[in-house]
Amino acid sequence: MTKHLLKLVWNRKRINFLITVEIFFSFIVLFGVVLAAVYYVDNYRQPLGFNYENAWRVAVEMNNRAEGSHSSQSSQTDINAPKEPSEKAEPPSATTFKQLMAAAKEFDEIEGVATCTVTPYGDGTDTSSIGDDSNPIRYGVSMVSDDFPQVLGLTLTRGRWFGKEDDGANYRPVVINERLSRDVFGDADPLGKELRRPDLPPKQEEEKSTPMRVVGVINEFRKDGEYTAPDNFLFRRQLLNNQMSREPNALMLKVRPGTTAEFEEKVIKRFQAIAKDWSFEIEPVTKMRETANTFRLAPLIAGGLVAGFLMLMVAMGLTGVLWQNVTQRTKEIGLRRAKGATARRIHKQILAELIIIATFGLIFGVAAVVQFPLLDVIGDINSRVFSLSIVISLAVIYALTVICGLYPSWMATKVQPAEALHYE
C-alpha cells in the first residue's frame, strides 16, 4: 500500500507542489523559532554560577576626573595587561571607595559589599584572550574585590578565592571558570599554573614578570544571565591601593532578605555624603535580570508570534486545500469503497498521503536547514540543540499536518459509496 501511495503522490506532484512548498517554508520559519527557543531553554537549564537574590548594584559615576582615570565599563581592551607598579601615593578614588565600602558595612541591612568592573546583567563587557590571533581563547573578565564571592554567592570547585595571602605576591591571582580551565589546561589541574599567553609581543613582556596565576576555579559565571550561552570567564583581583590598575565602576551589595527599596535612598544619601561629586544609582540585580531577560526574550516572543500566525495560516490553508482535494477525489473514494476499502481505510489513506506529501516538503526543509551551520548563519549553537530543534520542528509540522487532515479525511468517509461514484 505504501508503494501505491508513493506512486500516487508522485504522479500527482504538480497538484501536491503547493502543499509541499507551503510545508517547506513553514518548516524553515518554525525551525528558526524553535532553534531560538531550544537554545534559550538549553542555556536556562545550565548553572548560572551566582545568586542574584538580595544583591544590589550601586553604579558609581566619578564626575570629578581629577580623582582618577575613569574608564568606561564597556571595553574591548586588554585589562589583563599589567600596570607598572607605582611608587605614588594611593589615588583619591581608592580612598573614597574604601570609605564607601566601610560606610556600607555599617548598615545592618547590608551583609556584604564588594567592588567590580563588570556587573551581572549589566551592559558592560570586558573581554580578553589567550593565544595568538589565529586561535585565541577568549574570555570575559571582571576585576573584583576579595568579598565578591560572598556578595554574589559564587561557589569554588577547586582552590581558593584571592585574598590577603596574595598581597605582595609576584603574580596576579586569578579565579577562572571550569570552562576556561578546560580550554586552556585540558584535563590538567589549573591550580598554581600561570595563565599565560604563549606568544607575547615585546611590549607586553612585563607580563612575564607578574604573570596571572590560577588560585581557584568556579563552576560558572554567566554574567549576561541564564539565556546566554555559557562562556569562559576570569576574575582578577581588584586592589584599592596605589597599584589599582583600574577603578571599579560599581559596588555590589548583599542586603538582608526583605530589605525594601526605601533603603536605597538611605544608602545613596550616605554615599553622597562621602563622595559629593560622585553620583550613585542603585538597582536590585533581580530587576536588572528582569530587564535583561525581557530584552533577550523579546525577539523570541516576536518570532513565536509570527511563527504562530504563520502556522495558523498554514493550518487553514492546508485544511482548505485538503478539503478541496478530498472533494475532487470523491469519485475515487467511491471507487475504492466499491473495491473493498473500509471507511477507516480511506481515512488512513488520506492521512498517509498527506504525511507523504509533508515528508517531501520536510526533506527539502531539513536539507536547507542543515546548510545553516555550514554557512555560519546561526552562530555558535551546539549540535545537540540544533538536532533537537530539527526533531521538534518536524514533530510540530507532522502533528499540524495530521490535525489539518483529520477533518477532510473524516468527511471523505462519510460519503456513501453509491453517492460518491455519481458525485459531480
Binding site: H4, L8, R336, R344
Partner: protein, 222 residues
C-alpha cells in the same frame, strides 16, 4: 446466489421524498447472466448499487449465498465487496494518475496476505484475460474508451469475484466497442461461470443475456 426480498429504497431530503425502488423481489442464480432494463430514473442503478452493497435499502433483505448481508458492518461489507463482487461502471472510474496495471491492482490492495509481486502477477493475468497485456504501462488518458472499459473489467475480475455487476458498461462506447465489451463479459460468464448482472439501456445488448429484468418507476415489471 443473489436474493432480494421486498427491497425498498426511498431518498429523503428535508422537503422531498423520492421513491427509487418499491418491493423488488429477485433471485439471481449462480452463473447467470442477466440484464436490468428500464427508462432513465426507473431505479436500475439504484438496484445494482443495492445488490453490490454500495447502497443500503430502506426496507427489505439482501442475501448473498443465502447469507443476509443487510445488517453487515462497514468492515464486513467492504470484505464482501472486495472478495465476492466486481464492479464495472459506465464511466470506467479509472484513476488517471495511475497506470493501467496499478489501476487493476487496486482491489488487491484491500485484500490481506497478497504480496506486491503477487498483486502484479494477478493484475497482469487479468489484463491478459481482457486482451490488454500490451498496454499495462499506459495511463488511462492514453487509451480509447473501449480499452479503458477493458481495464475496468480487468480491475473488476482481478480478485476472482463470483459476481460481476456492470452498470451500463457499453453506455459510453460505440457499438463496435460495446460489442467487444459484451464479448468479454460473456466470455467471463461462459468460461469462468461468473454471475453477471448488467444494467443497460440497449435492447441489443440485453438480448445477449439470459434473462431481462425490467423496471419502471422503481417497480419490477417483468
Amino acid at each position: 446466489m443473489i436474493q432480494l426480498e421486498g427491497i425498498e429504497k426511498v431518498y429523503r431530503t428535508e422537503r422531498i421524498e423520492t421513491v427509487a425502488l418499491t418491493n423488488i423481489n429477485m433471485n439471481v442464480g449462480e452463473g447467470e447472466f442477466i440484464s436490468i432494463m428500464g427508462p432513465s430514473g426507473s431505479g436500475k442503478s439504484t438496484l445494482l448499487n443495492v445488490i453490490g452493497l454500495l447502497d443500503v435499502p430502506t426496507g427489505g433483505k439482501v442475501a448473498l449465498n443465502s447469507k443476509p448481508v443487510t445488517s453487515y458492518s462497514d468492515r464486513n461489507l467492504a470484505r464482501v465487496r472486495n472478495e465476492e463482487i466486481g464492479f464495472v461502471f459506465q464511466t470506467f472510474h479509472l484513476i488517471n494518475d495511475l497506470n493501467v496495471v496499478d489501476n487493476v491492482e487496486i482491489p488487491l490492495l484491500y485484500r490481506k496476505g497478497i504480496s506486491s509481486g503477487e498483486r502484479r502477477k494477478l493484475a497482469l493475468r487479468a489484463l491478459d484475460r481482457v486482451g490488454l497485456h500490451a498496454r499495462v504501462h499506459h495511463f488511462p488518458g492514453q487509451l480509447s474508451g473501449g480499452q479503458q472499459q477493458r481495464v475496468a473489467i480487468a480491475r473488476a475480475i482481478v480478485g476472482n469475484p463470483r459476481i460481476l455487476l456492470a452498470d451500463e458498461p457499453t453506455g459510453n462506447l460505440d457499438s463496435q466497442m460495446g460489442d467487444e465489451i459484451m464479448d468479454v463479459l460473456r466470455g467471463l460468464n461462459e468460461n469462468e461461470k461468473t454471475t453477471v448482472v448488467m444494467v443497460t439501456h440497449d435492447p441489443r445488448q440485453a438480448e445477449k443475456t439470459e434473462r431481462v429484468v425490467r423496471l419502471f418507476d422503481g417497480r419490477q415489471v417483468s
